[in-house]
Amino acid sequence: MTTSRLDPARAADLVERIVAGDASAEAELVERSLRPLRLLARRVTRTEADAEDLVQETQIAALEKIRRGDIREPERLAGFLRALLKNRAVQTYRRRHHTAETASEAPPDAADERPGPLGDALERERLRVTRRLLDELNVARDREILFRYYIAEESSEGICRTLGLDADHFYRVLHRARQRFAKLWRQQAPRELHGIVGAGLVFFLWFAAYRATGGGR
């Protein structure tokens, strides 16, 4: 698992080193920002492949801006990365929307919505782990809490009122479910999945280093 910690002090340090032409700092930034960016990207895209594309576009754009010295508040690098990702997502959406409108007024190609091999593997694994988690929940009410909160998007207050729970119990169920899911995910995530993600990361690090050393200019 990659490191994610990118606190203000470390962010300022990385920005300073990248501006100074330190390739290892670029690789470190890519690695440290990967998990949070991927998390945010998944929340604003439909497929795993789109999320990965968005993360890579964001990181490339961020490195280019940092190298040019466009970051005015290096300690707020996290906010900058987040804003960059959201802007990129909006641009991508607008570009696709515009292309679809000007092309033939046809609906978006269904192939665009397909998750791809990595997404397929992730979705299968996620489904398997979720089912196992649900199977492990002995209390039917706990399963109901998860579905009501995450799927039906009922308010916590409403669920507690309906099921006669106090808030502590409610959040304890969510917390335990998340913890158990994370544990199962770590235990069961297939090796090939790690391989695919790992290969993508190695390629990206190589690409970042290649660009940092002046390749392709």
């Binding site: 203000p8 440290r32 690098l77 996290a78 979720t130 579905f147 909160y149 799927i151 309906t162 899911f181």
Partner: protein, 265 residues
């Protein structure tokens, strides 16, 4: 504890850990219930805090996993979401939803589904087989076996032979039944049913046995089975009569029977 990121102002306070824990920010973020500014602050916090990042990653995966489960087995989700409705609904509806939930549960367990399907098919078949077998055993018990005599009885044909005197019947103590075959007159109209009286005693007029509604056989005779012990030695008259369709009595036919003891008794 993680230092806040960004500068808080106004109503929005810094996104730091006491607040994140106290206000259940992770859960609210996952459920999309943070406002835009708190969302931005928390997302920036995620770059710096491994614990929150791991929690949100797990929660996000769980949320998407639940969506996938719900999408693939919609009935399961419906069952859970409709729990409140189920409680208030009539029992038939509730049973339907529960059945759908069970089906959804079974869909995820092919082995169990196969077993239940087999059970559902086999159980009625087994019940039907059991009923048929019980019926067969019952009728077998009621029906005498064909490799044995169907009845141990004496057959006594009684016909009208003028001036021939009474028909002699020698009671066989070993045989419990006497079957009297009464030949009906060959002349006159056939009636649907007949009445038979057995009269004995000194005057041969005491009623010993009587039956009505007896139907003749294909060979124009009436078959009457009597317990041998009811026929004590002596003379008997068998009166065969009938009621016509017009309501009057048809001509009676009288047959005579003399019962004697068996030589061995």
């Amino acid at each position: 504890m993680t230092a806040p990121t960004g500068s808080g102002s106004g109503e929005h306070r810094a996104m730091v850990h006491p607040r994140i824990d106290d206000e259940r920010v992770v859960d609210r973020y996952l459920a999309g219930r943070l406002d835009a500014e708190d969302t931005a602050r928390f997302e920036e916090h995620l770059f710096a805090c491994d614990a929150c990042l791991a929690a949100v990653e797990a929660g996000e995966q769980l949320r998407r996993g639940l969506q996938a489960v719900a999408a693939e087995t919609m009935v399961a989700a419906e069952t859970v979401l409709a729990a409140e409705t189920v409680a208030a609904a009539d029992s038939a509806h509730a049973r339907g939803l529960i059945a759908l939930g069970v089906l959804a549960w079974l869909r995820r367990r092919p082995g169990m589904l196969a077993a239940v399907t087999l059970l559902v098919v086999l159980l009625p078949a087994a019940l039907v087989w059991q009923q048929l077998e019980l019926q067969r055993l019952r009728s077998a018990a009621e029906r005498p076996a064909f490799d044995q005599p169907t009845a141990d009885l004496q057959l006594v044909p009684l016909g009208v032979v003028r001036d021939a005197g009474p028909t002699l019947l020698q009671i066989d103590a070993e045989r419990p039944l006497v079957l009297l075959s009464l030949e009906l007159p060959s002349t006159g109209a056939r009636l649907e049913t007949y009445r038979v009286e057995l009269r004995g005693g000194a005057s041969m007029d005491d009623l010993v046995w009587r039956a009505e509604g007896l139907e003749p056989t294909l060979y124009d005779s009436l078959l009457i089975a009597l317990p041998a012990r009811s026929l004590v030695p002596g003379d008997y008259r068998i009166v065969v009569g009938a009621e016509t369709a017009a309501g009057g009595d048809a001509d009676e036919q009288v047959l005579e029977l003399r019962v004697v003891d068996s030589p061995g008794s």
